[in-house]
Symmetry: C2
Subunit: 158 residues, 2 copies
Amino acid sequence: MKAIQDFYQEQVSHCYGCGRLNEHGYQIKSYWDGEQALCIFQPQPYHLAVPGFVYGGLIASIIDCHSTGTAAAAAYEAAGREMGTKPDFRYVTASLHVDYLRPTPIDAILHIAAKANEISGRKVVVSSSVIVDDVETARGLVTVVQMPAEWLTSFNSR
Amino acid sequence: MKAIQDFYQEQVSHCYGCGRLNEHGYQIKSYWDGEQALCIFQPQPYHLAVPGFVYGGLIASIIDCHSTGTAAAAAYEAAGREMGTKPDFRYVTASLHVDYLRPTPIDAILHIAAKANEISGRKVVVSSSVIVDDVETARGLVTVVQMPAEWLTSFNSR
């Protein structure tokens, strides 16, 4: 099954969080099931906040990219279009909110579920939840807006 | 001048964002002037969102750690105590909010200014601003709470 990010155009696939062409980055993957998107991520041992627990900035980063991906998939779904068809639905983050409910253990697999609460014009609001062993450790609420069309055409790859 | 993070105890200096002992991390530094804290950060060329602009997750990460540091410095200041004196003021993030006002250029030095809006009991609210060439590109609002005392004593270094 292709991830949402695998449909991104090459010139917008260099993101440190989710770009498949960024060899230094996290390369997160989001999978759409028709209603919501799931991201599974295993932190590295050095992605620490304090020993034993995952760095909150990493959690915010995953939520950020997973939300822009979820928005794209939800927009295609709402439009009744296949993912990857033109013109592209691609989003950037306008605001990011994360509530850290409890420490997230580092020796664990993170499951991040996200869904679009609202699609209105160029804007999508995405809520998400970080789950470790059936326990919710963080919650995200992200507002994204469609990328300017020129971003999808005018960039040169680096 | 010592950075706020240089006063952190060894067992809580492994953070991926600001731990001086995390060789894989960002190792951000925050400098306190008595009223606010300044962090100066140069992104790496691969810290991209789209080519030309800084990854929002990195901005969120810097805001996160810079805010916990600012809270510590502000709490010492409010208590009339020297930084690093015992018992430690050390904070973890309860909620993180970032508004991305405009794209942040990647070939630039980021200046992040932060101050404590409110100190109440174990909680501090910190606002921050990311400035590049005198232009504000992002704004943070972070609520932090004092670390449980046992976190400062019971961890083993990794």
